[in-house]
């Protein structure tokens, strides 16, 4: 069961990471990058590293995504490729 969950999580991370690179809109890309971190933090919990999972979820998935949006709004580019 654990192996199955790990495999599905890895596949999801891979797919979302591909989406983050290949999509044309910057906002989708930023959100996909945040989702990669969120699923990676789940993976860390399965790998029994809850400390790392907390850091990943709070900083990479939360603060970094917000930081990207703040910067995007500051430089005024929303939908360039």
């Amino acid at each position: 069961m654990i192996l199955f969950i790990t495999l599905v999580l890895s596949l999801v991370i891979f797919t979302v990471a591909l989406l983050a690179v290949s999509t044309k809109t910057l906002t989708t890309s930023v959100i996909a990058a945040g989702a990669v971190s969120l699923f990676a933090s789940l993976l860390y919990v399965i790998l029994r590293a809850p400390d790392v999972a907390m850091t990943e979820a709070a900083i990479s998935s939360g603060l970094m995504t917000a930081l990207f949006f703040i910067i995007l709004s500051r430089i005024g580019r929303k939908n360039d490729d």
């Binding site: 907390m54 939360g62 917000a66 500051r74």
Partner: protein, 228 residues
Amino acid sequence: MIRKFFILIILLAFSIILTGIITEYVSPEALGTAASYYAEKGPGEMGATNLVTSVLITYRGLDTLGEVTVLFLVASILGFYLNVQKSNKNSTCSPLLHTASRLIFPFIFLTGIYIIINGHITPGGGFQGGAFIASAFLLVLLAGLGKDKSTGLFSILESLSGLVYVLVGLAGIIFAGGFLDTRILPLGESGKLLSAGAIPVISILIGIKVGAELSSMIVKLSYNGQGN
């Protein structure tokens, strides 16, 4: 065409290197010298149930101090380049976000404090809890509830907690084994809230410092006016 060819070559080289690493990798049977020392002696010596925190704060305390210093440098540089100006524009967030963030903020904040205070018992610690607190402040900022005076308080808090952190470390030289030795306070019963020497104290200091630094960074980045 040539560019794509080069990209292909680089990707191939990467894949060759990575396949080498994956196929050669052997999962180690036992812990290394330092790791087995931490795992065996750590709980008894430092009295912390969470081994990760005791390694981070005591055995590798100098590294943590360095990390906090790097974060302080980043915050200082941001503060140097981005002078905080009052944003005159009214907050244009939706009422949904405005109401929900007022409801959720105390819970996120309390979770952060819980993670910081219980850092030596359950997973977590100063850094994680500080990041939680900073994300709570981020929510408040997004909802337009923040006050403009808060950055001054943040700088005072982070400077004070950094100073006290170093002072606690120096107290380790005088009263215990060396710099950042946390056995200056009684170890107490393992698993209790008031135990593990000075680990909770340092954890709280790191939590305040990281939370204040990350929050002030976000405030500085988002509040800066367009005219600068």
